[in-house]
Symmetry: C2
Subunit: 252 residues, 2 copies
């Protein structure tokens, strides 16, 4: 097996670029990091262009099927490729999924309107996956789904949930015309407590920006606004926790 | 008003130390960062030893009452004191709260058993506050509650919730003897779906380590183990999201 010893190797330079949205688009590829994430990708049937592994993993039986696409890397190269202080020895270059919204708009949708923190985006995709949401739609100003921080927080849920990008101001009326009720999350006079909303498999829930909430133009289009009554004194919930509370209510 | 222009000033060196647990204990003080956090502290009646502010805030009417405890700092000093890339011009040195468990063990308790990520600890305190939990107990190996990252995620909830540290292996039997049922969160054969647990104001909920869950010695002592049924394919939920789903069920 070939071994790459320099972070300046062209393949490594390219792999590193595949952590950045611009290059991910140009090359239609992204970099996954860590044995767990790469394992999830392979388990989901994703086909790596190449796996970069340290000597510890070069003989790993789990990756046996992919030995012919494996390149060994040194600790220097491992550290260079990694987005964390403690890299875990395995990287994979995978094709970007080409997801699309279902032609028949029906089912469960989580719409992220300007969620800026990558950890929040990843946690919400993971939560949507756990709750059984089918589609997560990233609106404008929402963090890119394939950045290292989002991937780490998603924990492989990108293989279970249909993640797409779309203009939410266009999508919301399309959903409504297709009979999917759109729930906003903003505490206003008309907002209803989440527990009063009937459990359903057919809905779109919009979660808004961490600081500013949903954009007014989206808020104006929602069918119902829901809120989480708080007995305590916190001003608000973390957006990922709020999404979890509402989604597990709706889909339970 | 005095202005400090050097990060090497003794007061600034001390203030910076007050972001670290050891020094926080030695001096019985901690450093709060940002106008929002400092505002929450003052609103809760906490008395700062000193506020360090940039010129932008030196005339801020909100801090009028504390002008005599204010020191102006330059941008250099601001950046030195800050734990973020974009500091926000206000810092306060506050006394550490001396919280204790209630003498009569009754009410709601969130027990954190080895939660390592500061963001998770902070988010869970904030969530507990929102849900109306009265006490959050930090067990061993749980991240320190007054580190900058935890404080940022708590968003002032340390002023609304009774945060204490304790040996959970001792506390759990004490709670049980006092009639407080202790719920574990581990998916095992005996575990019950959270929605089947009756809503209550009198309980202790244990959340375990992000990777390894609860310690076995605690698990063995719980009255009931509860889990969150997942319709989707995620292996697990983020620990903060899981705490939110369970707490908002129990206390709603």
């Amino acid at each position: 097996m070939e071994t790459i010893t320099s972070p300046k190797n062209d393949h490594i330079k390219l792999a590193k670029k595949l952590t950045v949205k611009k290059y991910q688009k140009d090359y239609d590829r992204y970099l996954l990091e860590g044995p767990h994430q790469v394992h999830d990708a392979l388990a989901a049937g994703a086909q790596p262009d190449r796996l970069y592994v340290t000597s510890k993993y070069a003989q790993d039986r789990e990756f046996k099927e992919y030995y012919n696409r494996m390149t060994e890397i040194t600790a220097d190269v491992e550290q260079h490729l990694s987005s964390t202080q403690s890299p875990q020895g395995v990287f994979g270059v995978f094709p970007l999924p080409h997801n699309q919204l279902p032609k028949q708009l029906h089912g469960s949708f989580l719409l992220l309107d300007g969620i800026q923190d990558p950890g929040n985006v990843g946690t919400m995709v993971r939560t949507a996956d756990a709750a059984g949401v089918q589609n997560v739609v990233l609106g404008k100003q929402t963090a890119d789904a394939f950045s290292p921080k989002v991937l780490r927080a998603m924990q492989g849920s990108q293989f279970h949930v249909n993640i797409v990008s779309a203009d939410l101001t266009k999508l919301v009326p399309q959903l409504q015309r297709s009979g999917v009720p759109v729930y906003g999350t903003e505490l206003n006079d008309q907002a209803k407590p989440y527990a009063s909303i009937a459990k359903t498999d057919n809905f779109a829930l919009i979660m808004g920006n961490e600081g500013n909430g949903m954009r007014p133009e989206l808020l104006a289009r929602t069918d119902v606004n829901i809120y989480i009554p708080m007995r305590g004194n916190a001003e608000s919930l973390n957006v990922g926790v709020a999404a979890g509370v509402v989604l597990f209510h709706l889909l339970s």
